[in-house]
Amino acid sequence: MSERPHDDRAQTGVDPGADDPEPSGRRTFLKLAAGAAGGAALAFAGAPFARYASGLSMEDILQRHYKELTDADKQALFARIEGQTKARYGVDVKLHDPQPIPGVRYGYALNLSVCIGCRQCSEACHKENNHDRASHNSYIRVFEMEKGRMDLARARADYDHPVPMPERTYQPVQCHHCEHPPCVDVCPVKATWKEKDGIVVVDHGWCIGCRYCEAACPYHARRFNWSAPEIPAEDINPNMGYLSNRIRPQGVMEKCTFCLHRTRVGKLPACLEACPAGARVFGNLADADSEIRWVLANKRTYVLKEEHGTEPRFYYFFST
């Protein structure tokens, strides 16, 4: 250590402040006043953050990825979500976590000769999945194409006239649960993945809301919660799956899950039940006797944007 009197300036005098006069008292006062004003402004600017943070619990913030949760973790998590739903929406709900049925790979087919474009599937999806009412969100979008065209680039989803119009084709589009989903590849935090039974799911408790998956999906299948969903209590579907139709929080992604809270207990998805024309066929691709396999073997089927190599599990077919 040096024996010389110590100062904080380098010995070769590179400190350029060496020749500056001592700061005046007024300057110091002004600086302090400015600092105080700045602090107040910062407190004001930061107030919304404080309000938001107060709505989050420590368990919310520290919640781990779905695949890392033990059964006990899940019980606690579901209980917490049920409590939060009750507090916010005033409804008692039950969260389930149905596991994939062994030996099942889901497939879905839609008959373009039969679809009348009534959008009942879209409505049913909206209701079953507890979507935000204000935006009338749904995972299904129905397109109307003119005669002679099967080109979605010339289709319209916003038609508003009696259906079916003669010589028009109607094509609902939803998540295809691709074999090679681009959305799964791009998620930086692995919040979305393909399950053993083929369903591509989102862990709403893990998603950070970067919306990269929404940019990557070629089928416009993913939706983002731009706000917390607003649903009247009487409209809420209380039969919920954690990975499917529990009421999602603000700021996370969501998507069609083939109604896994229904299909994993053997029921038909809501969109299929709603179809009055019977244009939809759903079942187990691994079962050679299933209706979906019959359709694939006996009808002209195709998939959207096949050239992307996503290998969808949602097929379109014609009656003849």
Binding site: I101, G103, V104, A109, N111, V114, I116, G117, C118, R119, Q120, S122, E123, S135, H136, S138, R141, R156, A157, D158, Y159, D160, H161, P162, V163, P164, M165, P166, R168, W226, T263, V265, G266, K267, L268, L272, E273, A274, C275, P276, A277, G278, V281, G283, N284, A286, D287, A288, D289, E291, R293, W294, V295, L296, A297, N298, K299, F317, S319, T320
Partner: protein
Amino acid sequence: MRRPVQTQREGLHAAEGLRGQGVGGPTGAGWTRLLLLTVWIGGLGAGCANSGGEAAAPGDIQASDAPRFATEVELPQRDLGFRTGKFDRDGHPVIVGCVTCHRLIGANKDNTLAEQLSRFHVGAKVTHGNLTCRSCHNPPRYDEFKLVTGRTVPYAEVMELCGQCHSRQRADYEHGAHGGMAGYWDLTRGPRQRNHCIHCHRPHDPRFRQVRPAPRPRYRGLEESTVHQEQWHGEGKLHAHGQAPAHGPKGGSHE
């Protein structure tokens, strides 16, 4: 193995219950409910020939031999008869059974088209291709319909009649590719309910009617939607009731 929904040779024992029931006069309340499919119990081996001819692929599972639940097909909530357009005190449509009049009045064999009728159901609208009344109706037994082979089927089995001409749709229906359903995709876990043909396709005017669709999607992001809204001026007419037929067996088409 998946057997067709309805076959002649199945024990349609429940159909017998329909005869003499509810077809002789104005109906009150009451459904016409029919269970058409029996429950298979046991012994569904994987070796059965399947009707579609799809080959087993690697990765396929063995067909389960668990007992399967039933698939129910309900006839629409309507008795066999002619709808007068009037409604009784309880709001139910007044339906006149064929035999009400034709027990006393013979059917005029010279009438082959609805336009030729001179009394009562003169305004019947029949737009079913080139069919005449007697293509399907079977006087003097008005609770039965006749098939092209000459065999008759009761009202409860009228899908057979539809299927003899519309066999492709019938086959599709049996394989779940035509006509709505509700319930379970996995019949080892629960039952299923199916629409009947005449839920959606009324026999005299079978064209699937136009409906008003559910509301179109809302596009968020800007105050006014800037989505191009092309107004197509189509030729379709609006259905009188303006509602899409509901799913499942309880919803029905209506006159």
